[in-house]
Symmetry: C2
Subunit: 135 residues, 2 copies
DNA sequence: GCTGGCGTTGACGTGTGCGGCAAGGTTTAC
DNA sequence: GTAAACCTTGCCGCACACGTCAACGCCAGC
């Protein structure tokens, strides 16, 4: 299989594949004409990378999974190094979520204060004249 | 006040201030010798920028707040444009938090599945011989 | 044999918020 | 008078995962 076909079957681009090879993440054999040659195993590796990327893993974080598969294990996460990455990622996610929730609270507080200030200003500048102003 | 003093009083760097000026976010008057000259008002603007940055606002998102203050309003969020930025940010935060929580769920699921698979494999390869193996 | 569609490498661009350095001018303290 | 500490502009670098050329080679169909 050549690079274009692999890219299409994995739902990515040739540019990404060349980049992965540059990182040593997904090295390719070469055909006689210099074209990159891939097989079904590479497709499996690539799908693993893509799935982890969708989870927000950086490319370096996918490396243990890829190497685990290349070592012949049935799943990318059959190795301790991969499990460790999972653990780190979960901790990271928890921290990030907590931080965002804290920020959300603070921003919501600022927003509500600002809205109240605006409403009070409007009320003092243009007090309702009488009941008749209500249409 | 010169750039170094302002930076120190706001807890930032001269480099950041020059960058803000480059963006037109915090323009500076100039002294006769070409040095940037700031006043207390600029310190106020800068503090506003820094606070919003701490909330994760991008510099462009702080612009309405800064312009609001420069227009003479008592607070950076006294203007409708600032309130709109708050609203957008809250929506963005909610979306981001929801996404992260979803990802966390999925990663946790993968992790637990992988751990179970590992334990089952270990159990089948090295079954507990008998009660005596427990120390 | 020629066009079109593959492939190759290499290099620069993207966005964000600065850090760091060079090469100079200014001011301040002693 | 001179050294230290400030200021100026300008430009390159970083992280990250590629996108987007450019200039070229290879191969299939007509």
């Amino acid at each position: 299989m050549r690079i274009g076909e692999l890219a299409e079957r994995a739902g990515t681009t040739t540019r990404a594949l060349r980049y992965y090879e540059q990182l040593g993440l997904l090295p390719a054999r070469r055909a006689g004409n210099g074209y990159r040659a891939y097989d079904e195993g590479d497709l499996r590796l690539l799908r693993e990378i893509r799935m982890l990327q969708d989870f927000g893993f950086g490319l370096e974080e996918t490396r243990p999974f890829v190497e685990c598969l290349r070592a012949g294990h049935p799943e990318g996460d059959s190795c301790p190094a991969s499990l460790e990455v999972y653990r780190r990622k979960l901790a990271e996610l928890d921290e990030c979520i907590a931080k965002l929730q804290d920020v959300r609270q603070q921003v919501a507080g600022q927003f509500e204060r600002a809205v109240r200030a605006r409403d009070e200003l409007a009320a003092s500048e243009q007090p309702p004249v009488c009941e008749l102003t209500k249409e």
